[in-house]
């Protein structure tokens, strides 16, 4: 039976709460006091969280295979004819509807839960900033878009949310828009994302013409004849019109993955994420670590039925993910900006998630998404708290010795560091090892890359931790005097997130430790695909020994990373400068992030500008020169001709007539003196002449009268 209940019936309220307050803020926020803004905006996200929690619990009441609640609010794009690849027309329809299944359950809880904590944190962090209401308005708008993205029941509505979060990301990166670097970073994020979005929308269109629908599934709808991608795919496979590994499915999967690459900052479209750190730190935590950048992962997992039938595309996903993971981790090794280290770390962890998706371990990818949301949000918020304490300083070379000065921030940051490094039993350990184990089964080299990345991760995270919190303080005197623990609004979310960073992984407690990996069992109904026997998902049951060995190996390399960082930055037995000096070329390469920005600048940005210059010249010379000016010249020439005709022929004839008249009128004109006495004289003369001429008549008349 299908799950029902108050919260499931009111799914649409979850995105609506933040939308309402966002609209309120953006229209009237200026007139509200800060306390009102805080209560409204944080409260609406809290309400969303409560409603999401309620909906998830009501969904859990149903049997696993029935855990789908779908609700169509209205027909958004009304049915219109669409030509399918086969040539026949079918009515195409997209609705505004929400879908809650185990996959969106995870996402909606992460988004609203972590989002709520970050909103609370923002009250403290943004308290002294201008544009308080604007910040919260954008944040709430982001929450609306993100919730639309994860709750959408079709690809087009998902795309609406997808673009919405991109817009909010742009607005919030450029929140300090008077700073040129911030507005530039916003533009960069927006433009790079456009490239990915182009792929995404092409993927949507190809899906629509291939399968005839963009709705994810028809399960949970009262109308039995409703269409859904999952059902269309299944019937196509059953009818042998689409086979395993069909080129069209590979094309769809790759196009969609281009979209995911943009949003989730994978090679080659990752360049915007480090720059996005120009935004306020809560934004980095919410959008550029915990939620928005994981949208690509969610999308690929959501489309898993297609990916499972396109093994080539899956391999591409896995390879791109693995390369991104190690590439970004190596860049994080030498960064000195606390937020930049975390940004590269985020890219690297996203690479892990795609590696998981690519080897067919969708559940492991989503699991890592969730644990990553906890500890990376915590790391960013902790970094924000550190920056707050250091009066805005972000360079870790100027920090140090903060362990005692800001104890709560330091300890929660430490928990997050342990979690991301993957130390047992913190959250990151379970998700990361799940991914590594699955990669090992799939392809040995992928495991090697992930394994090395785990070591690098441990190294750069402990480097960051030691440089920031251990040793003596390297800050200026007046900065040092100011160091203080953050207010409660900031510290409390840190503590809650720290709790989740510890226990968050336990719901995926692996079978090898006597658990039953409830998290993956929970997601299984969504990720089963349409051809389980050929699909990539195989719930691997490793030999007990092998799995333990893998875990020990990754713990060992994490330990090695920790030890190296300890020797470099804590005990200082090895000077990092010495190592850097021995391989100066390599160090410079890492410090300059492989010169990727410079290469993109030279290869793409400058070429685009050249094209613009070229087009500008074409515009100036050909369009303006030949087209506009030529037409203008022609018009002037014609009008000159016409003017000549007018002046000499038309006017000439008239003037000739007038001249003639003037000539003949000359003698008559002499009589008109303008003096009425002369006119009177003429009258008199005329009268005399008349009388003289008709005199005899007058005489005769007079005579007859007499």
């Amino acid at each position: 039976m299908t799950p029902t209940g108050y919260f499931l019936d009111h799914l649409w309220l979850i995105p609506l709460f933040p939308l309402a307050t966002a609209a309120l803020m953006l229209f009237f926020g200026k007139r509200l006091p800060n306390i009102g803004v805080s209560v409204l905006c944080v409260g609406s996200v809290g309400l969303s969280f409560l409603y999401a929690l309620g909906a998830v619990f009501q969904l859990l009441a149903a049997q696993p295979e029935h855990r789908v609640a779908q609700q169509i609010l209205f027909e958004w794009l009304t049915p219109g004819p669409m030509q399918m690849t086969g040539g026949h027309l079918i009515p195409f329809v997209a609705d505004w509807g929400y879908l809650l299944d185990p996959l969106s359950c995870v996402m909606v809880l992460v988004v609203t839960g972590v989002g709520f904590l970050i909103h609370v944190y923002s009250i403290g962090y943004m308290g002294h900033e201008g544009g308080y209401y604007r910040f919260f308005g954008y944040m709430n708008l982001f929450m609306f878009a993100m919730l639309t993205l994860v709750l959408a029941n079709n690809m087009l509505l998902m795309f609406v949310g997808w673009e919405g979060v991109g817009l909010c990301s742009y607005l919030l990166i450029g929140f300090y828009f008077l700073k040129k670097s911030a507005s530039d970073a916003g533009k960069k994020a927006f433009i790079v994302n456009r490239i990915g979005d182009a792929g995404f929308i092409l993927g949507i269109l190809l899906t629509a013409v291939t399968l005839g629908t963009v709705r994810f599934t028809s399960q949970g709808l009262p109308d039995a004849g409703a269409s859904g991608i999952l059902q269309a795919l299944k019937s196509s496979v059953d009818a042998h019109s689409i086979a395993f590994g069909a080129p069209v499915l590979t094309a769809i999967a790759l196009l969609l993955f281009i979209g995911a690459m943009g949003k989730s900052a994978q090679i080659p479209l990752y360049v915007w994420l480090p720059d996005a750190m120009e935004g306020p730190t809560p934004v980095s935590a919410l959008i550029h670590a915990a939620t928005m950048v994981t949208a690509g992962v969610y999308m690929v997992a959501r489309m898993n039925a297609i990916y499972q039938l396109a093994p080539l595309a899956l391999d591409v996903v896995a390879v791109i993910g693995a390369i991104t993971a190690i590439f970004a981790a190596s860049m994080a090794l030498v960064q000195n900006d606390i937020k930049k280290v975390l940004a590269y770390s985020t890219i690297s962890q996203l690479g892990y998630m795609f590696l998981a998706l690519g080897v067919g371990a969708f559940a492991a990818g989503i699991f890592h998404l969730m644990t990553h949301a906890f500890f990376k949000a915590l790391l960013f918020l902790g970094a924000g708290s550190v920056i707050h304490a250091m009066s805005g300083e972000q360079d870790i070379r100027k920090m140090g010795g903060l362990w005692e000065r800001i104890p709560i921030t330091a300890r929660t940051f430490g928990v997050a560091t342990l979690a991301i490094a993957g130390i047992f039993p913190f959250a990151g350990f379970f998700s990361k090892d799940e991914i590594l184990g699955q990669a090992f089964d799939r392809f040995f080299m992928l495991w090697v890359v992930g394994f090395i990345t785990a070591g690098l991760t441990a190294f750069y995270m402990f480097r960051l931790f030691f440089l920031t919190f251990i040793g003596y303080c390297r800050a200026d005197e007046h900065v040092e005097k100011h160091i203080h623990e953050s207010p409660w609004a900031m510290v409390l979310p840190l503590m809650i997130l720290a709790g989740f960073s510890v226990i968050g992984g336990w719901i995926g407690w692996p079978e090898v430790f006597g658990g039953e990996n409830r998290f993956e069992r929970f997601l299984d109904p969504v990720l089963i695909g349409v051809m389980p026997e050929t699909g990539a998902v195989k719930i691997a049951h490793h030999a007990f020994g092998k799995e333990i060995l893998l875990m020990l190996a990754s713990l060992a390399i994490v330990g090695a990373g920790f030890w190296l960082a300890y020797e470099f930055y804590c005990s200082k037995r090895i000077a990092p400068e010495l190592v850097a000096g021995r391989r100066p070329a390599l160090y410079r390469l890492l410090l300059h992030k492989y010169y990727v920005d410079e290469i993109y600048d030279a290869a793409v940005v400058e070429r685009t500008k050249d094209l613009g210059t070229l087009l500008g010249r074409f515009d100036a010379n050909v369009i303006d020169g030949v087209g506009v000016n030529g037409a203008g010249w022609l018009a002037r020439f014609i009008s000159k001709l016409s003017m000549w005709w007018d002046k000499w022929i038309i006017d000439g004839l008239l003037n000739f007539g007038a001249k003639l008249m003037q000539l003949f009128s000359y003698p008559v004109r002499l009589l008109q003196t303008g003096m009425f006495s002369s006119y009177a004289m003429f009258i008199l003369v005329g009268l005399v002449v008349l009388l003289a001429y008709y005199g005899h008549h007058v005489q005769a008349t007079l005579r007859s009268v007499r």
Binding site: R669, T673, G674, M675, F676, S677, A680, M681, L684
Partner: protein, 100 residues
Amino acid sequence: MLPIGHYLFLSLALFIIGVIGVVTRRNVIVVLMSIELILNAVNINLVAFSRLYGDVAGQVFALFIIADAAAEAAVGLGIIIAFFRNRETVLADEMDLLKW
């Protein structure tokens, strides 16, 4: 009763004085007064012939002309005052606006 010739003579004399005044004088007010003389010459003629033939129509005509002359004087003087305000002159040879 005097013979008709006396009346006609007086009328002719007045008429000629009026015509000379209209034709020769520069001052428009004098010209207006001269026109009044001409009109009165006509009136004398009309009344004289009316008396001669015992027909009252001539006298009625004369009354009409008197009324007409009054109206004409009013309008004429009004025009002159308006003109004087604009051009500060009442001399006829300076009133040449209608000249081509």
